[in-house]
Subunit: 326 residues, 2 copies
Amino acid sequence: MLPIAVDAMGGDNAPGAIVEGARRAADELGIPIVLVGRPDETDPLRGDLDLLAASEVIGMDADAGASVRRMKDSSLVRAAEAVRDGRASAMVSAGNTGATMASALLRMGRIKGVARPAIATPIPVVGSTPTVLLDAGANAECQAAWLVQFAQMGAVFARHRYGIAEPRVGLLSIGEESTKGNDLVKETHALLAEPGALAGSGARFVGNVEGRDIMTPDVDVIVTDGFTGNVTLKTLEGGMKALVRAVLETLGASDVGDRAVEALLPLYAELDPDSTGGAMLLGVDGVCIISHGSSSATAVVNAARVAREMVEGEVVERLREAIAAG
Amino acid sequence: MLPIAVDAMGGDNAPGAIVEGARRAADELGIPIVLVGRPDETDPLRGDLDLLAASEVIGMDADAGASVRRMKDSSLVRAAEAVRDGRASAMVSAGNTGATMASALLRMGRIKGVARPAIATPIPVVGSTPTVLLDAGANAECQAAWLVQFAQMGAVFARHRYGIAEPRVGLLSIGEESTKGNDLVKETHALLAEPGALAGSGARFVGNVEGRDIMTPDVDVIVTDGFTGNVTLKTLEGGMKALVRAVLETLGASDVGDRAVEALLPLYAELDPDSTGGAMLLGVDGVCIISHGSSSATAVVNAARVAREMVEGEVVERLREAIAAG
């Protein structure tokens, strides 16, 4: 297998935690890795990992489109080129999400027939497989036909990532009835309800779902526009964080303090975004894994593991077939 | 003060919990109450509370518009009429939300100049005043000018409900920069950023906020369209519920079980929707408090308390002034 290109410069904890995670992925899981980034910053850290030199770094808050066009020797652009040129099998970055998307889109191109790529983010569900939410932020304005493709691609992802034979796909709305929602949702509902709409991806449309269904085992893939999806994702992250902090503070101040907090550690790990292995940009012609900005070394290990699974499972080929059949 | 009309027939636990809550509001808080509903079902429960007889009940899942037009002797329509006719100072219902809105809108009418009423829902923030989210579901499709009015009305509500002198108003988006978001958000941002946009409501526009800011003390009012707002609200409800259940199950199975759960009870109560006193429909010409469908007697007590506060604070007058000044 070709190596996985890991953007050593992207993320709040780069390059330290990123390079450490890449080394652990290589050492502990035997995943072939090529780092992409500045030699002077990575040489002291990388041990015997290969390096693809890139002199520029796109900042976490930089304008995505302009940066990718201008910074042709950036680690993100070089990582995407490595996939395009057949020198890497996948790219992983915890850097600027918009720039990661733009690099992948401009260098790898789209899968034939895909209108717009979408970010598929797994949301942890206690005691079950995660719910795949897409689009989690690639497209703030969407058309109904794009959402149908998101459903097809999300189903292929859920099947390969979580081994779900016939993923249940729900459309995010504000009521279960097909008449509920905004104009985009009503139009999308009608398209998804047509017989065979998801036949090519082996999925089943279960109708509208609501925000309260996301963290339940009742649905496998939830489709929405990138604005609503991103708001939803960040709302959940913020809500979970606020509640977890309040629970830990309350327990910490009680007479059962440490033992109660200790009892909760496995649950905490189950819900930790570092455990999910990151989001995947679906629809570009290559594997592109997007880790969150605050990724730890463990998050990078998991992202590399998911990247290998997606490469070995030939998910891009499966997406191509689903889009061609849709 | 004129009595508060409580819809005895609305809600999953009606009429039992609703009437019990109404009685407690009268007995414990001295709030004047008139129940609205079927005599045969409420007479055995209501003690010495007054009753305004209404023979029909709009079901929780009934079509809102059609029901309100057809069922003129329903408890919801009669409650709204009582406010319009000066026989009640406010209405409270835990029934069908759409039908509650439609009854209030059709019977009370809109405040002059208001384009669309909006649902303002308080989201609990641990250790701080709640964040007021609106529109939480009244208008699935919105225009930018309506969102500006939601900001004005939400600020008046936050000032009176929580005593916040100069509420900080944020616009829900997917990035802090004014260029981030969908078309509606970008257009609304430009309008809210104009000097004086919120002068009439004594509020301050703090720019775009993200989902992760909702449960923090950093913002007082968050404005969004009714589709995004409703998805956000239900996402938080579902996420909190899933996490609370997982925490309680995990602790329950641990060796510190009962004592840890007991330590968490005050936090649980702080986050319980029954404690918030319900949402308010802003923009209609009268006070209309919307309790959630699963309201307990305690939720009704709190809703009646909030209704009284809104009546005594003359919030409808303050909304009228803010809209006229806006």
